[in-house]
Amino acid sequence: MTKEQKNLIIGTLVALAVFGTVAFFVVKAIINKVGDAAPKIGVTTTVSYAQTPIIIKSIRHIGQWEFMTITDEEVVERSRKNLILSDDKLVRIYYGTLRLGIDLEKLREDAISTQGDSISMVLPPVQLLDDDFIDEALTKTFYESGEWDAKIQKEMYDEAKNIMIRYAMNVENQEQTRQLAETQMRQLLQGLGFRHITISFESR
């Protein structure tokens, strides 16, 4: 390559670089100047809710005495492999309130015996008062990629429920609930005039 050819190539490259830089700033200035006047375009979503009735499906008489409330939040994850794209993942946070206490409707016929100002009472075992304790409408999705069907969502709900039950129904909480139940019942019985009170619990 001759010296003249080399100079020609270098000169062309420098000219292109200068032209490119000037063109960049000119285009940027034009965009900034006319940007506000340019037609705007965007996709929007209009959400509306139809008025639907609220139906009382059932009314049940119950006798559940709650002594301990455990508020719990649990994270449940699911992921699945994709051959080409990145893996799908769903991370959700469930909120639940578990209520521990005794079901008075399970009080046995021979659970109470009295003699003068003495009373002996055998209370039903401490239990989780209701299996439906998750407020699912408050569930938060922390991360979601891919589509997830009803089956997976039900599985995740059940998993969250089991984690919460394991957390709440430990020996310590059950014992504390028994103590609270005994204290409350003793107070009620004293108010009714009993002076010698014996309270015990049915074994499960």
């Binding site: 965007g42 559940q64 719990d72 039900k154 957390y167 909480n173």
Partner: protein, 220 residues
């Protein structure tokens, strides 16, 4: 793609925390960098639940997409497609008597007649459940389906509708108050009579100046 990579990196960094931490009462988890703080707490209480209401609602959502544009200062909306969602859901409300502040002063026993004055009834939303099998969506083929975030957000609206209905419907409130009172009496009178009191001499009363309009509705 960058978002996904960032997420995976975060998950990788915090995963040892997931394995190593143990929950303790009243303390949030250590993985605050990744997942919003998780709260677990235990509270003592004394509530006698006397009535359980299962309430059903179908949330019907229309979330149509449209293209919004303008030309020469005039705006246009061009429909892009339909997105419809049906979510059947159920909520549980419970009527109860709060015994937390109940004391011996609320029991009058003159040796023959027994009068118990119970605290005012209250009501609490204790759970909500989405019927995932019954959830249906009708979406134009070129638009994306409702993801779980959208579905739950719409279910939350249904939950709020149920709460508002109970709060604002006088007839509903009257029914809840009367049922909670009646059921409390039906539960306690036989229980106390088994302790040797004559059922005829037991009276369960409530605060005289309580109006069903004052019914407290608690939401966890």
């Amino acid at each position: 793609m960058r978002k996904v990579k960032a997420f995976l990196l975060t998950i990788t960094l915090v995963s040892p925390l997931f394995c190593g931490c143990q929950k303790q009462d009243g303390t949030p988890d250590d993985d605050a960098n990744a997942i919003p703080q998780l709260v677990n707490h235990i509270q003592q209480c004394s509530r006698l639940y006397t009535t359980d209401y299962r309430i059903h609602k179908v949330v019907m959502v229309q979330a149509d997409k449209q293209l919004e544009t303008s030309f020469l200062g005039v705006g246009f909306n061009v429909p892009l497609g339909e997105r419809r969602l049906l979510i059947p859901m159920e909520a549980t409300l419970k009527g109860y008597i709060d015994f937390s502040n109940f004391s011996e002063d609320d029991i009058e026993n003159d040796g023959e007649k027994l009068t118990i004055t119970l605290p005012d009834p209250e009501v609490m939303l204790t759970s909500s459940r989405i019927d995932h099998d019954g959830t249906k969506q009708y979406v134009s083929w070129y638009l994306s389906n409702f993801d779980t975030t959208e579905q739950t957000a719409h279910a939350a609206k249904g939950r709020q509708d149920i709460i508002d209905k109970v709060k604002n419907d006088s007839q509903q409130k009257r029914h809840i108050v009367e049922a909670a009172r009646q059921n409390a009496a039906n539960l306690l009178i036989p229980l106390i009579s088994r302790m040797g009191f004559d059922e005829q001499n037991i009276t369960i009363t409530f605060r005289q100046d309580f109006s069903f309009e004052n019914l407290k509705i608690h939401i966890d």
